[in-house]
Symmetry: C2
Subunit: 425 residues, 2 copies
Amino acid sequence: MSGETEAVNAKMEDLKVGETSQASEQNNAAEDGDKEDVVDPWTVATSSSKGIDYDKLIVRFGSTKIDDALLERFEKITGHKPHHFLRRGIFFSQRDLHLILTRYEAKKPFFLYTGSRGPSSTSMHVGHLIPFIFTKWLQDVFDVPLVIQLTDDEKFLWKDLKAEEANKLAYENAKDIIALGFDVNKTFIFSDMNYIASCPEFYRNMLKVQKCVTYNQVKGIFGFGDSDCIGKISFPAVQASPSFSNSFPAIFGTKKDIPCLIPCAIDQDPYFRMTRDVAPRLGYPKPALIHSTFFPALQGAQTKMSASDPNSSIFLTDTPKQIKTKINKYAFSGGGTSVEEHREKGGNCDVDIAYQYLTFFLEDDDRLAEFKEEYSSGRMLTGEIKKELITILQKMVAEIQERRKTVTSDLLKEFMTPRKLNCQS
Amino acid sequence: MSGETEAVNAKMEDLKVGETSQASEQNNAAEDGDKEDVVDPWTVATSSSKGIDYDKLIVRFGSTKIDDALLERFEKITGHKPHHFLRRGIFFSQRDLHLILTRYEAKKPFFLYTGSRGPSSTSMHVGHLIPFIFTKWLQDVFDVPLVIQLTDDEKFLWKDLKAEEANKLAYENAKDIIALGFDVNKTFIFSDMNYIASCPEFYRNMLKVQKCVTYNQVKGIFGFGDSDCIGKISFPAVQASPSFSNSFPAIFGTKKDIPCLIPCAIDQDPYFRMTRDVAPRLGYPKPALIHSTFFPALQGAQTKMSASDPNSSIFLTDTPKQIKTKINKYAFSGGGTSVEEHREKGGNCDVDIAYQYLTFFLEDDDRLAEFKEEYSSGRMLTGEIKKELITILQKMVAEIQERRKTVTSDLLKEFMTPRKLNCQS
């Protein structure tokens, strides 16, 4: 049967991967050069204290910057002022967002898909919340179905975790996510380990993606090597499959032509570049994307936060006192080395973590502008701007903790049961 | 997170694959030499008209020949005379069969697992029956649970077939298999596409195997290349998983220590060499194996039959007339070129396909010996030995066709529903 195998392979090779090969070539070119940022689903690294150069990243990835014209169109069509994440360039890049707005305008259905590569500890940190906070807002604006994927299988494959532990963590993470206020009538949350083992349509879509993508391609896109396990190598198909509406027969029946919009941090883009290349070959619409910047670690913007270092971030389980201590002790300061120097030269908001976190969590544009002015001028001290952040984070985390207590096992079960969702569109 | 990824990779590399690396090295060595037989799950090729050199294959694969002592032990422990497939060396090689006999003797549980890589056409050919006929006999002898895997996912990945078509074919093949007389109280038949999407325990075992096996390893064992799709690369985990009893919670509950015996053609051994290497690392017993030779094509023993060439074999859908015509027209003859030459020199049973097929389908040892004697001496003509085979195959195929008619959709559904099985052990 080797002849047939070879024929199939030859056919695979003929199907050039457009978006991905372009991006990976640029990626390689960048890596050959000096000190380019590294951004893929497992590594985000830069040598700049200001963090990743996102303008360069957009060019390398081949996505499109979210500009004022798009934000104006968004507001005009939805009647909603863009979220402060959009206004402040935290969600800064997109693919086909215009098409989604056009569908919304024409009252054609679409859905939201987001996910959590999830922490390997039981609790999520505030950085994990960014895509979920934004997705919840999009759900409120668009009133469309939302599917949330918890990749417990991926956690198992990548981490030193047992399958059973990874699966349990998915349920803990689901509670954190529910505590952000998602509407159970419009949201389906699933763990891969459970949902794949309950939905033939999902497994078939996994197989269809797996048949379209070669080892060479995942090597180029994700940097997998020959000593990686075969679970990692085939995993991208699992992350691709929720992009297709017929992966959710309980929600969409047999419809395969409903596109999705995926809010995610830009390090997840490689998965969806691959998905967008594969989709037309399977007769499915390409997923649209809206990308965020990375949430910086307390220690500075050079890296993403790590769930495995408790001092690198604020966790949803932290007490008010822990939040206060961590921020005062670990949050990288852009202020002067002494009060005198700070008063004289002012603080640097571009690298100051307290200020950076405020851009994420302080909604009020005027107050944020005031803090920037006061801190940059040196009138506001590091301790003072940290105090503002501490107050906001203590309140936010406490509220989530309160709401989490109300997440009963019945409610969790309801969110995680495949079912019809009730949305306008 | 690249550090963690690398750490996991390094760990994987440390876990040397014993049986597989040994076998693949020997395989490579063999391929460097001249004109060795090629045997893997997709290719069986030899330049010898007598077919594959099985003695050499045993050495290369590192399995053990089934010898008289083992057959004696089998008869002593089970109280059954070994099946003619065993007596005639059709099932000729094994791994750990002694351990299974010891368990049977000690009344400890084990189960049978076999499968069909299945035809890409709707009907199976008589060559496909060999492992099933033998497995049914083993089931009668041992009275243990039997699981039969139909790899519709594999067919989809390897062939030019739609997922839905491959899944439908699995059900057609299941009817053929049921028509061989399996006991519904002791047998569970499943299609991968359906069962994986219904059993979390199975998917978890797939993931566990996928985490233990690197691309390098499947490259060595199966000869996969960089332009193979990621579905093929991860598929071996799907074929490995039914070897583990906790993949079938409806049958075995949470028990993970019940070993299986796998009857299969020896080209499937690479899958289970891999499985045997992985099993101890997962805390599971290694599957035992019993290997058959290949069923030759009508045209001769150089290759396996091909389901895609209707004249290369006898199909379960063939009419008595088709069977007669195909054997008379296509079955390679070891007889003389003229009646005179045949009478003088006799026929060569080693290459004569009619005689070869009789070794599979004529149970009576005495008659077979008589035919060999008569044909070799030239007293029996090619047309006469073919006539004996035609009669046997017409009867066997007609009986299967009759029984297949009685396979109702209810019965099919029962066989394919995960449930408790009723066996002695």
